[in-house]
Amino acid sequence: MTPTKPQPDTAPRADEQSLAGWGLEPRVDCAVYRPGSAAELRHLIEHADGPSTLISRGLGRSYGDPATNPDGVVLHTAMDRFLVFDDATGVVTAEAGVSFADLIDALLPRGWFPAVTPGTKFVTLGGAVAADVHGKNHHRDGSFNTCVHAFDLLTPTGQRLTCSRDENANVFWATLGGMGLTGFILTVTLQMLRVTSSRIDVETTRVGSLDAMLEHFANTDDDHRYSVSWIDCLARGAKLGRGVVMQGTHAEGNGGSDLAPAKRRAKSVPFHFPKQALNALSVKAFNAAYYARHGSSRHAEGFDPFFYPLDAVLHWNRVYGKRGFVQYQPVFPEADGAAGVRAVIEKLSAAKRSSFLAVLKRMGGQEVGPLGFPMAGLTLAVDMPRSSGLRGFLHELDAIVLDHGGRVYLAKDAEMTAETFAAMYPRLDAFKQVQRQLDPEGRMASTQARRLGIVGQR
């Protein structure tokens, strides 16, 4: 029940919530608003008793602090409607709160799959634009921006702007990867990919070293739409970088019943694991077992286990315990990529910062916005549980990344310094210029944006 339209004189009502990113830290007490329409959102921005600053939040899958802000958080989950879908072209327009899970549920049975998808389907379209997310096909197809035709943005001054490569192009590019700081993404129009089956033909190849892996990428990546590899961060010496390459392509099917997704029952991690559960020894055992189990093979599997293996375990972030964890993801340019990856793995391995999940993949050189993350080269993603001294350790990793001409992904970042960030993102000033024009009064802010010096302190 609700329906009274917001009266001009009624102040928007906030819910006080303690919010964190997917990494569970930092935790921030936020005033949370949940408008159901652009009109309600505009009312919130313009109301005299409204919040001083705001940031958008979707399903809270960014790892660090980009979607928290004590002054105000706009939850987009009540703006989650499909608006237009053209079955002939696969172009869909939906409100920014629609998730990849929604897209797949509604459109896969009709033969359409997201053309670019992140590694969890619990990401909203607004979040996908704000982080310009990438997936296992980045080496070939680029990041999410490549399938975005246009989006509507409500600017911090309450103006509705349609943005595309042709219209308000500077705002389009600043918003893609702009971590929500240019305003509120209302709707997104994107191109889906035609498929005839819900299954993926997968080829897995075990490789014994980093060099062998890079050689395998170079020889075979172009033959597969999707390519990613898991690497054992604890292996050292000649075995450093050993792992399993997983490559895939959409299977050919009959289009009808072949599009039905396989039923999967979600499991959940019901509580935070004690901090002793994960240690160098248990992770080493896990990694060794994983490596031994995955030989080279060819098989077909459902899209869920291929793209979203961890979505099968709800709250999987709890396995790292209450203190949470960090996912660290740098990208290195092609020329210096192997050396950068090796330097980071050596440091992780020496420090015994346990990590189950280390993922390596090649990225392509498609165009990105001023705060876009991808560049042609290699990207590595590793999980590290929070423990004492982690911040200092991450700053040491940051130095290695900078040294090799790389940068760290803002959707994962939780601890970078403003200086490091400015050095990694040389187009920051171009971003700030567009951002200041859109937001002259400084209404947009997140905990991350303040830490990184993109916006002023409170």
Binding site: M1, T2, Y33, G36, F82
Partner: protein, 247 residues
């Protein structure tokens, strides 16, 4: 009540932009029902209608409805071929806000009760003439007992519950079922930001039970189900004891 793909049955949702109504619409569409969404905010129901069509490939039409425009109620079901109607609109004022402004208080009574009386009679005549169908309307657990914390709102819902109870008896011989829906606190725009004493239920969970009870032609729908034993106990507490509680 059941549904087949070839000739979808049609359900009218009155007050279709409310949080519970939207979840009920999704659940019905998922089960293949065609829908008629009626609400005051034309833009909002158009968006919801588009969403339901894309997600579930069902027929959805919209029409204007304003709870306080009593003259428009008579034409609410004109030209429609319905198997059921769900009445969902409503507002909630705190006791303090109601006490502070009788005009706002009376507006809540009119939206939550007077308009229900009006709309329910229109629906009763419509389904009575057809000799079949289900009328469902949203009351609340708050209507089961006047609690110090929320009695102004609760009283409007108690009136709706009493009305539905009588209507049920009247329409039963005519083949029409009447369902009183009593949701517990639900996570909707109406409750967002209120300091709730306990957790609120997701609207999807609440809606699932509502649709099930409509299809089974039940009389009372506590949703989530746990509210049935809880409210049974609360209703049984004698007044001399109840007045000493702070529920």
């Amino acid at each position: 009540m059941s549904n087949s793909d070839n000739n979808p049955k049609r359900v009218l949702i009155v007050g279709a932009t409310s949080g519970i109504a939207r979840a009920v619409a999704h659940r019905l569409a998922q089960r293949g029902y065609a829908l008629v969404l009626a609400a005051r905010d034309a833009e909002a129901i158009d968006r919801d209608a588009a969403d339901l069509r894309v997600r579930y490939s069902v027929e959805v039409e919209t029409r204007a409805f304003d709870a306080l425009d009593f003259d428009c109620h008579a034409s609410l079901v004109d030209g429609l071929d319905l198997c059921a109607a769900v009445v969902c609109h409503g507002i909630m004022l705190s006791n303090e806000d109601a006490a502070a402004d009788i005009h706002e208080h009376r507006r809540m009574i009119d939206i939550n009760y007077t308009s229900y009386a009006s709309v329910l009679e229109v629906l009763a005549s419509y389904f009575e003439a057809r000799g079949e169908g289900v009328i469902a309307a949203i009351s609340s657990v708050a209507g089961d007992r006047g609690r110090p914390s929320n009695y102004c709102y609760g009283a409007t819902k108690a009136a709706v519950s009493a009305y539905l109870s009588g209507l049920r008896g009247r329409l039963r011989p005519r083949g029409v079922a009447v369902l009183t829906i009593k949701p517990g606190p639900t996570d909707t725009p109406m409750t967002h930001g209120l300091k709730a004493k306990g957790p609120t239920a997701p609207p999807e969970v609440v809606a699932r039970q509502i649709v099930k009870d409509i299809e089974k032609r039940r009389a009372i729908c506590y949703t989530p189900r746990k509210w049935w034993p809880i409210m049974t106990i609360i209703r049984a507490i004698p007044e001399w004891l109840f007045k000493r509680t702070s529920l």
